[in-house]
Symmetry: C2
Subunit: 369 residues, 2 copies
């Protein structure tokens, strides 16, 4: 998604810069590093919508008092395999790492672990946390609800969040299997990237308030906040091509993210109180880890999974197609490229970085813009 | 999907008939009732592809010796929260009920339970087992791999099964939430129903070996077995409308269904040995139960989930649309209608029922055809 006016910055420099900005904003040093880790992981994977492009958003929310820089996750209920965590409006990334660590520990002790979280905030890419389980030799599943944006099938009101599902599993290859996708065709972050790059959305991704296709990215972003535009679920409008399935999956995510912890859901996740004033989003997450060794030796699991992926990739291609991917290959390969070449920083984002550098007085950072 | 030539038979009569056919085929009486229960549940829900239309298929497979009428599920590995079951080519429905009962018991004792199954067979609708967990006040998740039919994104070879995902959750309404859907736009059973009804498939559901749309239902069914036709995943062809997401989810199902128990996968699930001879399909399943009471009082979960569903259903509709559904409402309402009116039996199926009645000598059944 990098455009002509993008400048490339080294990932290490951006990581350090983000850490310093968060520290300036009052985030404790260890937590600031965690948040920067999650954000740069997104840029490295090529998911620019969820990386440094969101730095200013987090900073502004902390400054506005709707995001707590000091995160104090509280365990409000616990059993051998489960826990309910209250994030108290702290940094979602810190809450996420804490919660997945807890799920992994429970899975190590009892075979499975699941943690439901309330009163959290935007935690970056869900896949980051699923991969924590994978590194522990486990299956990881992570879902979260988010600000309203998807309309139900036959509806025109954005209610469900883009509600991503992340599922990670170890393989016998260097690249683990990681499915990490919104249950909408595209996610809000992609519309933000399109808006910054002054590009239109494809017809079939978004509808307006009378159910017709909408393509203007700026209008879509405004419309999502004014209830006049909605993202379509995977499968698109109606039922003909399975749109009701994408809608149903998005609802599954909403249930897992809210119902296990008495959390907010749908319209109440707008982050706006009854007087139209910004308030904490109070989103919910669900983290799960399954310890593979409880079923069979991990090496056997890795082998079967690797063979499934290799059989898919080596199958017959459609005429003119060069390659069949399995989930995470593109992102995994992208990481090597971005580490070598740098993270693309487009014009709007350059302004944000200058602004944040000046705010935080971080004049040791020399940006080539 | 009922057509003009369909005759309606009472669900109770069909249930008893199926039980008697299975008993004749050598299935023990208790197991025969379980299988008939699962099949009639599908007809009641209006999913005719997975109900009595499959009776002949099961019967033929038992007769051919590739499906064992006496089911002996063996626990090959077990931990407090997990188990691996070998189905030894028995009846998938019996294995399914056994496995979900085990997962629910483990969840009752430890908060969560998961059971991976190998060497099983077609178990009907996955949702049946998810609803078992729901009746126990739990979340139920069930996935299974199936015969190869979906091509990976940019591929033209049917490799992934229709790989359904069933997720059930209790609500404060009579109708529980149940998402139960193939990860393809349509499933093989629907093509079978179309073929029986001599109707075409919609362009965009299926591709041929050069990646072009295919619509002839008979040709598609033949092509799926000859590797020349493939179903498309939710999201359709390519990546533009999220086809890679449907493909990724289908792969998640394949991994959960095979990798935790060293099972067969993809092309090896054709049910044909190296000499082209029919053999057991040896599919794998994954059952999971999450005990809601470990997180919060069940009544709170029911209330939040019910409110999510009601907010979705009462949201603004697109012009001309009469109703916004949440998953399971249509099927739940259908059950009342089918119990009242009967199960539609189309011409081809009438022949199957007559054949099976004669085979089994069940002349006490008087069919109006």
């Amino acid at each position: 998604m990098a455009t002509e006016d993008a400048v490339l910055l080294p990932a290490e420099q951006l990581h350090q810069f983000m850490t310093d900005v968060f520290c300036f904003a009052g985030v404790p040093a260890g937590d600031a590093k965690i948040v920067a880790d999650v954000l740069i992981a997104s840029d490295l994977r090529g998911i620019e919508s969820h990386g440094v492009q969101r730095l200013r958003m987090y900073y502004d929310r902390i400054k506005a008092g709707i995001l707590q820089p000091v995160t104090r996750p509280e365990t409000v209920k616990e059993s051998p395999t489960t826990a309910v965590i209250d994030g108290h409006d702290g940094m979602g990334h810190v809450i996420g790492v804490h919660s997945m660590n807890l799920a992994v520990q429970k899975a190590r002790d009892f075979g499975m672990g699941a943690v439901a979280v309330r009163n959290s905030s935007h935690f970056g890419i869900a896949g980051y946390y699923a991969l924590m389980a994978v590194r522990a030799g486990m299956i990881g599943l992570v879902v979260t609800n988010t600000r309203p944006s998807i309309a139900p099938t036959f509806g025109v009101q954005p209610l469900l969040g883009t509600n991503p599902i992340a599922f990670g599993a170890p393989t016998d290859e260097d690249c683990p299997y990681l499915f990490d996708a919104a249950t909408s065709i595209i996610q809000r972050g992609k519309v933000e990237v399109l808006a910054r790059a002054k590009k239109p959305a494809s017809p079939g991704w978004v509808i307006n308030q009378v159910g017709q296709p909408a393509t203007d990215a700026d209008e879509i972003l405004k419309g999502l906040n004014k209830d006049t535009h909605s993202l379509l679920p995977i499968g698109g409008y109606g039922e003909q091509f399975g749109g009701h399935k994408g809608y149903g999956l998005s609802t599954v995510v909403e249930i897992l993210s809210a119902s296990l912890q008495m959390g907010l859901f749908l319209h109440n996740l707008m982050g706006i109180d009854e007087n139209g004033k910004a308030r904490p989003h109070r989103i919910g997450h669900f983290f799960m880890a399954v310890n593979i060794e409880n079923f069979l030796p991990l090496a056997e699991f890795r082998k079967t999974t690797g063979e499934i992926l290799r059989e898919l990739r080596s199958s017959r291609k459609a005429p003119g197609e060069k390659r069949i991917y399995t989930a995470n290959e593109k992102e995994y390969e992208n990481e090597f490229r971005v580490r070598r070449e740098g993270v693309p920083i487009i014009a709007d984002l350059q302004k944000d970085l200058i602004y944040l550098r000046n705010e935080a007085g971080l004049f040791q950072y020399q940006f080539p813009f």
